[in-house]
Subunit: 114 residues, 2 copies
DNA sequence: CTCATCTACAACCATTTGGTTGTACGTTAG
DNA sequence: CTAACGTACAACCAAATGGTTGTAGATGAG
């Protein structure tokens, strides 16, 4: 029952990464502007190491990328992955629109849309 | 750094629920057609109780709802929640488009869109 | 009525997760 | 050069996750 071109493990990692307030907040911050890990860490009531781990989770999900700049590690967002996640959800919504209908009706609607 | 009208805990639960292949597959199945828990369970190489737990996770996330029908419990999708999740991701994408720009430019673009 | 089916839920287990502290190492500021 | 900063990573811990088996209660079929 495949809905997307993603591997299941990739989707797992992306949604897992998004399933935490701190990580979504980090993502929102670096989308607006790339920041060093320690700059990010200053905003949260937890240790630097904890934030470092959150960034690592986002990185494994390919939602962010780190780029060395001097002694700092700049974290920047990977909007492509975010977009693909959004499109995956939309694909599920599409399943809904096409639910319980014959192939003729779906083809008919597809023509209308052109 | 709020991006949506959702409570953080709600978003946590939704993405957490989506972060598992089996659960995404269950969701896809019940989007197409409502099914009983045991009917769902037949498709997966795990115990009935395990599938039951997966459905419970989807239910806590408000992605599905159970409806008693005789001795069966019919699971059906809650597309509204799915849609809200998609819109949340789009909101993050929107942050990207509006990144690093002055308030004047954003207002100008908003007017264009009307 | 009786039996098979569907569901609920508890107890248990291994692994992962989200946090901590501590240590070590490269880099830049002064 | 030296001290401070930014990062990396290991070890540890409590709690959550994803699975199991087992027991028990409703409900429908025959």
């Amino acid at each position: 029952m495949v809905v997307d071109e993603w591997s299941e493990a990739e989707a797992d990692r992306v949604f897992q990464a998004l399933a935490d307030v701190t990580r979504r907040d980090i993502l929102a911050r670096v989308i607006r502007q790339r920041q060093s890990v320690s700059a990010l860490a200053r905003h949260y009531p937890m240790s630097f190491a904890a934030v470092q781990k959150h960034v690592a989770v986002l990185e494994r999900a390919a939602l962010v990328t780190k780029e060395r700049h001097g002694r700092e590690q700049l974290v920047h967002a990977n909007v492509t992955t975010l977009h693909r996640a959004a499109r995956l959800l939309e694909a599920y919504e599409q399943l809904w629109r096409h639910r319980a209908r014959g192939i003729e009706e779906i083809l008919a609607e597809d023509q209308e849309e052109e």
